[in-house]
């Protein structure tokens, strides 16, 4: 699935959303939807004399993530100041980590494997940093046209993991698969909730064969990454085909306009003048600390996938899709707990439920459907109350309103018609209205399907399909007998 001559590397920023407070101060990290500049204190505002102190839980979560990403965790590390003038940090520097000038990142040399069309690929992770999230800048209109910038520091100081990959991706799709897997792993660890807006953001480096490396900033979700990279491939390819060289630059992904725009930054490479953060003491991680984190690590998606195959007998593909999101996998297991038909549940989830969520642009978590209601719907089919067709019809209502399927079916009169008397009357009508089809059906199986279809249309899908099929065949047989006897009597006349 690789695109010819494309090389991509990612720098992913993930908030440790399960923390209650910021990385270096006790301000609440629950900043979404809060009034601007109400979750700030002298530490995250960088006021004189304020002293940052590391959140122990943030370190634990970061180490856990690093281990899950197969990284080598550093035994001794420091924080560094990254100095720059940009209003997103009130201090004019960001407390981060550095891999040069004696700096040691939290962890190095990890990897994740992704699977695309049965081909397994290893994506190397060069390093992981623990750092502060900058504040939120609000631009009026597009970033390059806004008259001024509004700044909200509620997000400034939130614990952020920076995961840097080697340039191992050869297509935008691979980049998306990587982010999806990263999300699922972090969610399984319980350190991250990817459904929160802006919890996972990334920058991408991309170059085409014969071109130059371009950096794209401001990609705000794994859904956007594929879009942004696809746009950039088209843009660069177009330039190269016209014989124009691709400029080495930083571009901004404009989600609303779905294009990348040049940020026209200064020509020189940014000079961040990193130096060790004197307000924070070094961190020394003992073997016991790392062992303890390892011991408390919950089940990861890959182990869960194998368990789904073993204990529920699911095919590999089903298991893989289900564990690609923690919510999906949790939902599945909840369903199985109530109703022990794993494959049946998986089928409904993988096809209709996922499609329905996609069509409504919802995450499972945002929808109103519960494991109880999905199971109830499947049971309604099993007990013969509704047809599969009706089930598919009521699923969107279940997702959007959270109403129970039994209640929807009853209030909208969607239960299956199983009365032989009623069905035979309806079939007789269908026969009267379609005399040609009835004649065809006597010799052609396909025309029988047509008649079943007409009956379904008349009953809005409510006729019990098995019963309808059987009765139509019976009634056709009756017609055949009748015609046969009338034909037989003809010559004697």
């Amino acid at each position: 699935m690789s695109v010819q001559g494309v090389i991509i590397g990612l720098e992913v920023h993930v908030q440790l959303t399960s923390l209650k407070t910021k990385l270096f101060c006790g301000c609440s990290s629950d900043y979404r939807g809060k009034e601007p500049n109400t979750l700030v204190c002298p530490v995250c505002l960088g006021l004189p004399g304020a002293l940052p102190v590391l959140n122990r839980k943030a370190l634990e979560y970061a180490v856990m993530a690093a281990l899950a990403l197969n990284c080598k965790v550093s035994k001794r590390m420091f924080f560094f100041r990254k100095n720059y003038f940009y209003p997103d940090m009130p201090k004019n520097f960001q407390i981060s980590q550095y891999d040069r000038a004696g700096g040691v990142p939290l962890a190095v040399n990890g990897y994740l494997t992704i699977e695309d069309q049965n081909r397994v690929k290893k994506i190397r992770i060069s390093r992981i940093h623990l750092e502060e999230d900058p504040g939120r800048l609000v631009h009026l209109g597009p970033i390059d046209q806004s008259p001024y910038t509004l700044v909200d520091y509620n997000r400034a100081g939130i614990a952020l993991l920076e995961v840097v990959t080697e340039p191992d991706f050869n297509s935008p799709k691979e980049a998306r698969l990587f982010l999806q897997k990263l999300r699922s792993i972090l969610e399984h660890l319980g350190v991250f909730d990817g459904s929160l807006e802006g919890a996972m953001r990334c920058d991408a480096n991309i170059s085409l064969e014969g071109g130059t490396r371009v950096e794209i900033k401001n990609i705000t979700s794994f859904k956007e990454v594929e879009r942004a990279l696809n746009f950039e491939i088209l843009r660069q390819r177009d330039l190269l085909e016209k014989g124009i060289s691709v400029k080495r630059e930083t571009r901004h992904w404009d989600e609303a306009r779905r294009i990348t725009v040049s940020l026209r930054t200064k020509e020189e490479e940014q000079d961040y003048r990193y130096f060790p953060e004197p307000d924070l003491v070094p961190i020394v991680l003992s073997e016991e600390f790392i062992k303890d984190v390892k011991r408390r690590m919950p089940e990861l998606p890959e182990a869960r996938m194998r368990r789904f195959m073993l204990s529920y007998g699911l095919p590999r593909y089903d298991a893989e899709v289900l564990v690609s999101s923690k919510d999906l996998a949790d939902f599945f297991e909840e369903c199985v707990k109530i109703y022990n038909k794993p494959k049946k549940i998986s089928n409904w989830m993988m096809s209709d439920l996922l499609r329905c969520l996609y069509e409504n642009n919802l995450e499972l978590k945002e929808s109103k459907i519960t494991p109880q209601s999905l199971v109830e719907m499947i049971q309604l089919i099993e007990e013969g109350t509704i047809s599969v067709k009706i089930a598919k019809k009521i699923l969107p209502t279940m997702i959007l309103t959270g109403r129970s399927p039994r209640e929807i079916v009853e209030s909208e009169g969607l239960t299956k018609i199983t009365s032989r008397k009623l069905l035979s009357e309806l079939i007789a009508t269908v026969f009267r209205e379609n005399p040609k089809a009835v004649r065809d059906a006597l010799t052609n199986e396909k025309a029988v399907h047509f008649l079943v279809g007409q009956l379904m249309k008349k009953t809005k899908g409510k006729a019990d399909p098995a019963l309808a099929n059987e009765m139509i065949k019976e009634m056709l047989e009756a017609v055949r007998r009748k015609e046969g006897s009338s034909k037989a009597s003809t010559p004697s006349q």
């Binding site: 209650k20 301000c27 601007p36 500049n37 420091f78 910038t149 700044v151 901004h252 070094p282």
Partner: protein, 97 residues
């Protein structure tokens, strides 16, 4: 005089990074002064550091942590009291790019 360690160009670059505008006279003056300071620091170079690991922190402390417990934040009025420009609870800054 020994070869200067910092060139005029570097002084201009440092000034640019620090968002400070310098006059031509100041550039000459600071180039000279910075070189004098660095010359003074050169004495450190004579110290024997063979087998001494770099110092990243002057304290012997390691692993100072806080628990993940929410503390009260400032009020917005307090937080914005030093801001020269504000609008609807935001700080107002010039457009950067």
């Amino acid at each position: 005089m020994k070869k200067p360690r910092i060139s005029r160009r570097e002084v201009e670059h440092i000034a640019w990074l620090a968002h400070i505008e310098l006059t031509e006279e100041e550039k000459t003056l600071f180039t000279e002064q910075l070189n004098e300071i660095l010359e003074y620091f050169r004495k450190i170079d004579s110290a024997d550091t063979e087998g001494v690991s770099p110092t990243y922190h002057v304290l012997d402390l390691v692993n100072v942590y806080r628990e993940d417990e929410v503390q009260e934040s400032l009020t917005r009025e307090e937080a914005l009291s030093n801001a020269p420009k504000k609008e609807r609870g935001f700080l107002k800054a010039p457009r950067i790019v």
